[in-house]
Point group: C2
Chain length 104, copies 2
């Protein structure tokens, strides 16, 4: 659950979300990502570090190039965390409607 929280706060940053989207299309190297982004390469590197810590991406070294791609785990944790509130929300909603309408 703490993982989901990390993943959530991680994706809260706009730049990080953009990076995540790009990697969702296809795995990419750091420099590749930096081009086409309004921030410097070190900035991308830092973001990738955070994304990796949240299990949202994985990296693989290919010579001096580091290829990053999406890690489904972080995404899954968020989903799990979200569904828990989704259920609670619907439950509360059902209770409220039952109390108001009582349409059996």
């Amino acid at each position: 659950m703490a993982y989901a929280v990390n993943a959530l706060t991680t994706l809260a940053d706009p730049t990080r979300r953009t990076i995540f989207e790009r990697l969702a299309e296809r795995p990419q190297a750091v420099g590749e990502l930096a081009n086409g982004l309004p921030v410097s390469r070190p900035a991308v590197s830092q973001h990738l570090k955070v994304l990796k810590a949240a299990s949202l991406v994985t990296d693989r070294a290919e010579g001096t190039r580091h290829i990053y791609r999406i890690d489904p785990r972080g995404l899954g944790e968020i989903r799990k965390w979200l569904d828990q509130f989704w259920d609670a929300s619907l439950e509360a909603f059902a209770a409220e409607i039952e109390k108001t309408e009582s349409t059996t």
Copy 2:
């Protein structure tokens, strides 16, 4: 989609997440929430304003008391946004595995 982004950044704050959790259990007034939280009542009020703007909660006046409860809409937007990447992630994963194993 912009809604989902708002909802996501909104739930990134720990205090706001806690408020959201409390409201998931049962609808509550502002003062009720403030008790049991390590922050002041105005702070809670501000957080509720943000949560409301992200369609994550709804409020209903009951005398001078303002009862807040979860709004499923904001939650739904996040889920929709998330699922889009969930699919992209699995797709990329499948492509990778297919390329590596090719176990038809």
